[in-house]
């Protein structure tokens, strides 16, 4: 049984909220990371997340949840996002974002594609496919930075990866109060 319109709308709104959050996270890191390679990587990639948020936000309207609707994720996932945002210094930021959050998000997009009828939900499918391509490129571009600046490679943060893997669902399907979240 494919996801209902409402369930898809809630998922898309949650992915939009996450994309906006990640755009803002990278924006915070631009002036506070000393290395040009990292600053410019974050500066370019925040635009990728902005585009994902924009496309997803237009889709929430088509799925009857309102234009650019946002749904905060589950508490567990929100906590991880906050932990990642608070990361410092640059090697920790890079590994938590590009070894933790980005691959996990890619996995969640893939799960979405597996859960929906591709014909019924074709507009979302296209948005998600483009986002997946972007996320894969973002990881490659981080790898290129590490090739230029091996000193920015940090130890893999197993704790974050484990915590992300433990979260099955990032969408909080509980009803939102009227007027909230958009």
């Amino acid at each position: 049984m494919p996801l209902s319109v409402r369930a898809r709308a809630d998922t898309v709104a949650t992915l939009r909220h996450t994309s906006v959050y990640l755009m803002e996270t990278l924006a915070r890191w631009v002036p506070t990371s000393p290395e040009y390679e990292a600053k410019t990587l974050f500066g370019r990639h925040l635009w990728e997340f902005a585009q994902h948020a924009d496309a997803l936000g237009q889709r929430t309207s088509e799925l009857r949840l309102g234009f650019h609707a946002n749904r905060p994720p589950t508490e567990a996932y929100a906590t991880i996002l906050e932990t990642v945002r608070a990361s410092d210094p640059t090697p920790t930021r890079l590994t938590r974002m590009y070894d933790g959050i980005v691959p996990d998000l890619e996995r969640r997009y893939r799960a979405y594609l597996e859960a929906v009828d591709h014909l019924m939900d074709e507009p979302t499918v296209r948005i998600v496919e483009r986002a997946q391509t972007d996320l894969a490129r973002m990881i490659r571009e981080r790898d290129e930075v590490l090739t230029q600046r091996p000193d920015l490679a940090g130890p893999l943060d197993g704790g974050i990866i484990e915590a992300l893997n433990a979260i099955e669902e990032i969408v909080d399907f509980r009803p939102m109060p009227a007027g909230a979240g958009s």
Binding site: M23, E24, L26, A27, R28, V30, P31, T32, S33, P34, E35, Y36, K39, T40, L41, F42, G43, R44, L46, W47, A50, D54, G57, H68
Partner: protein, 269 residues
């Protein structure tokens, strides 16, 4: 659209409170005034490298200002935030383009002092229209004028590669100034108080400029004198400013301030 919880630290330069510097690697010597910079006249090898080095850091500052605006104004209209996010990405590309050119000219990061003046001034303003008025409508519009002349300077010096880089940057900067002009107009129509925010920001910038402008006759860190000519605003790129959605009246005013020196002239009725 007032910044909440910005929490940026400040520094005092010549009695003026400015936003403290963004993070820079230890290889950079960060200074706070033009007098401490190593700006040479002409197009000698060292002057070329310093020009690109300085421009690279300024583009980095523009990226940081745009990024900080995304942090400080989460409630701004989404379409405006999208423009600001795109600007951050554009400025990041500019940094990379100039860093690559610096390498090609056998320069290196930290070879010259850098100053983060635009960051220091712009982030003291706690409204987004005010920041757009300073960073996009003033600093970046000034860069439009400057790039209009510099492309020719680099070409005449036989460096077509750098001229092409500057040309590419110019087209992006026109876009940044244009969206700021359009959004300030739109926000002002929706709420006339925004005009007051803009006016206060511009007045603040004028006050800071006045306090920090080096005196004519004084010299910079490499002994080059500041002259009345070197302090003049660059010739106005009339076409580029019109393309960036300045009104003809605004262009006339900028022309007046620049002593009616212009490049790429087009008739302004």
């Amino acid at each position: 659209m007032t910044a909440t919880g910005v929490g940026l630290r400040t520094k005092t330069v010549h009695g003026v409170a400015l936003c403290d510097d963004p993070a820079r690697e230890a290889c950079f010597t960060v200074v706070h005034t033009d007098a401490e910079m190593h700006e040479w006249p002409g197009m000698s090898d060292v002057s070329r490298r310093e020009r690109i080095h300085r421009h690279m850091n300024n583009e980095c500052g523009a990226m940081e200002i745009a990024a900080q605006a995304l942090v400080d104004f989460p409630d701004a209209p989404w379409d405006l935030r999208m423009r600001v996010a795109r600007q951050a990405a554009d400025e990041a590309r500019h940094v990379l383009l100039l860093a690559r050119r610096l390498d090609e000219l056998n320069g290196h990061r930290g070879e010259f002092p850098v100053a983060n003046y635009e960051w220091g001034v712009t982030n003291m303003v706690n409204t987004l229209p005010g920041r757009l008025a300073i960073e996009n409508r003033t600093f970046e519009a000034g860069l439009i004028d400057l790039l209009g002349s510099l492309r020719t300077t680099w070409r005449e010096a036989g460096d077509e590669t750098t001229a092409e880089v500057l040309d590419a940057i110019l087209s992006d900067e026109i876009t940044h100034v244009r969206f700021a002009n359009r959004w300030i107009r739109r926000l002002t129509e929706e709420n006339p108080r925004v005009l007051l925010d803009v006016a206060m920001a511009v007045r603040f910038l004028a006050r800071v400029n006045q306090a920090l402008e080096p005196a004519v006759g004084s010299v910079n860190a490499v002994g080059v004198a500041f002259t009345a000519e070197s302090r003049r605003p660059p010739a106005v790129d009339v076409d580029a400013r019109l393309e960036a959605d300045f009104t003809e009246e605004e262009v006339r005013e900028v022309l007046r301030q620049a002593g009616f020196r212009s490049i790429l002239p087009r008739e302004v009725s």
